[in-house]
Symmetry: C2
Subunit: 345 residues, 2 copies
DNA sequence: CCTTAGCACTCTCATCAGGAGAGTGCTAAG
DNA sequence: CTTAGCACTCTCCTGATGAGAGTGCTAAGG
């Protein structure tokens, strides 16, 4: 870890090593750099440079007389200084735009899963999409609609134009007038509150409600009802498992990948914590705290729905096509944000 | 494939081989059968029996001087004739009942994912749950509810007590009276029809609708709107990827597992086609047509929601604990069916 | 006729040695 | 500072060897 500042030539060679290794998945020799790279130097000179890159902790030698493999720090330097995001081709942009516009009518769950599908198809990696948390959104109104029998549908809409809903069964049958008074009262109490606060507000006023609907509202507050529960509809969707299992680095032992896919809450947290407010964030290997992500990189972007942020990203081995994936995530998150911003209006 | 009828002793030894192999994941030798099994015979005699079991195609020898491994046919014979489903312990039944009752308030999607989670936890295998197809269910009523702005929530309830919903944006704002006439008309046309037929019925009457709501109904019929689209809400949920990746048979090459997880539609079809109307169905290895399932077995059961069937099941290597898993799936599908049958009332 | 002890046989698996190949590090000359 | 040359190291592949496991066969015993 001697140098932080690298000479031009060192950077060129580091870039060459990384690009070659991303293609081949194997250690890169000094000879390979000479053959592939834009440097007109002998392999001996390249070896000298490699030595200093290794001292700087940017590349690593699995054993004597093997080529070099980029370290996490090497990829980090590459991502920060040595590459430009690759913009998508015109054709790809059109395909993504079309894919998104087909989704535009659906609800958030459909959109989230559709976006994952699109991104995994274009990245050939595992794609993850997290719907924006609605708990911080401000509730506009609540409607209680009688379905058949003793069941009632509750729908809350937020100022950002998202909906949350729940179906609950009540102990006894409720007439239309019961529901309309309940709708009016509940809306009065919770409108202007965030979804998170609404729960408290309702609990506070619960005693004031006429008996027939008290029971109904109590059920809406219950743990199992997602409508006012802060984490009720944190939806995450991932797609493209087949791609990740194909990478040669995981053919030997793929068991740790299982830990990533299960527990969707943790996966969602991982993606959410790693995303910034805007732009694309890259997390490489051990920069992730979770041990099962030590060999994985994460490229995430955010999209905005009203005041809330959702995230989308791609997960793959640290040996991934960063320029391509950063360009893809950037484009997709921009496009989705634009599409959704047209909604609240 | 000489014998179909097996002598008692052959069956005992086949059972012994299978149970031993399920535990160890390795070929079972004649000596191991003597040690483990309830037969008091010499290994030489066991070898003679093994020979005839092999002639019958029930076990297989990877190579000379290796032990025997059950074939798909061997497992089939075991499941059909040599085992009893293992009933769950009192403690386990209580845990499952509690887990289910916590889900009972939620909507179908929540229930489906919750059941998968429960089953994968108790089976230590990949668990899959398919929500019942609602397209054959009879619609009871449709409600159109105005949300904020130009957005309208449409909810259809079926006689079986399930709901389908969609949110659509309309071209212009619709007043309460527009919506109530539309609600009345649409309900009149589609109530008594199945979800599948409703689409046609609505299309037929579309011209009769007053102009302001015609546009709205047209959007409900659109491809992207799940409410009347036959396959709109076929929801499938799977859980427990981590378990499947742990099995030693997949540690060498897990890449084909990716094919199973992607394409949820195909996975849903697989489970649905393999389930009978009632009871638990077991599909072993090559009995599955899909090539990526050649080494996998499937234990599925059905649960009833009104006139429709949903499915739940467990997927694992052919070397799985059939008695345990059949017992588990049986209990869970019964319990879920009972829970849901209380709904329509 | 079925069972079983004994034994030769076969196949796997782990280990080792040797050689080829790849790639490095060092050194000395340009 | 660059580079050609060379010795060195390490992996990987191959073939040989031996131990171990498990079988199949045969002949003796119930």
């Amino acid at each position: 870890m001697k140098k932080v500042q690298l000479a031009d030539r060192e950077e060129t060679i580091l870039r060459s090593i990384i690009e070659c290794h991303v293609k081949t998945a194997r250690p890169v020799s000094s000879g390979a750099v000479v053959r592939h790279g834009p440097v007109s130097l002998s392999s001996a000179t390249v070896r000298n440079v490699m030595r200093s890159l290794e001292d700087a902790g940017l590349i690593h030698q699995p054993h004597t007389s093997a080529g070099r493999v980029p370290t996490d720090a090497g990829y980090r330097h590459y991502v920060d200084h040595l590459m430009e995001p690759a913009s998508l081709s015109e054709r790809e942009r059109v395909q993504i735009d079309e894919g998104l516009s087909q989704l535009s009518g659906g609800d958030l769950g459909t959109i989230v899963s559709g976006v994952s599908r699109l991104m995994s198809e274009f990245s050939k990696e595992l794609a993850v999409t997290v719907a924006p948390a609605t708990e911080t959104q401000i509730i506009e109104q609540v409607k209680l609609v009688s379905l058949e029998g003793r069941r009632v549908l509750a729908v809350a809409t937020t100022r950002a134009g998202m909906t949350r809903s729940a179906v609950v069964s009540t102990a006894r049958w409720l007439g239309p007038e019961d529901l309309s008074t309940a709708t009016a009262l509940v809306t009065e109490w919770v409108s202007g509150e965030s979804v998170g606060q609404a729960q408290d507000a309702l609990r506070e006023h619960l005693a004031e409600l006429p008996v027939p609907v008290k029971n109904l509202v109590a059920r809406l507050l219950a743990e199992s009802s997602p409508i006012f529960h802060p984490r009720g509809d944190e939806r995450i969707h991932y797609e493209g498992t087949r791609f990740i299992l194909r990478h040669p680095e995981f053919s030997a032992d793929a068991s740790f990948l299982g830990e990533i896919f299960d527990n969707e809450d943790e996966l969602a947290d991982l993606v959410r914590n790693r995303a910034g407010d805007s732009g694309v964030t890259v997390t490489i290997g051990r920069e992730n705290r979770r041990k099962e992500m030590k060999k994985m990189s994460l490229v995430v972007g955010s999209y905005r729905v009203g005041a809330s942020l959702g995230q989308m990203g791609v997960i793959g081995p640290t040996r991934m096509k960063y320029p391509r994936l950063i360009g893809l995530v950037d484009y997709c998150s921009e496009a989705l944000g634009e599409m959704l911003s047209g909604r609240g209006a």
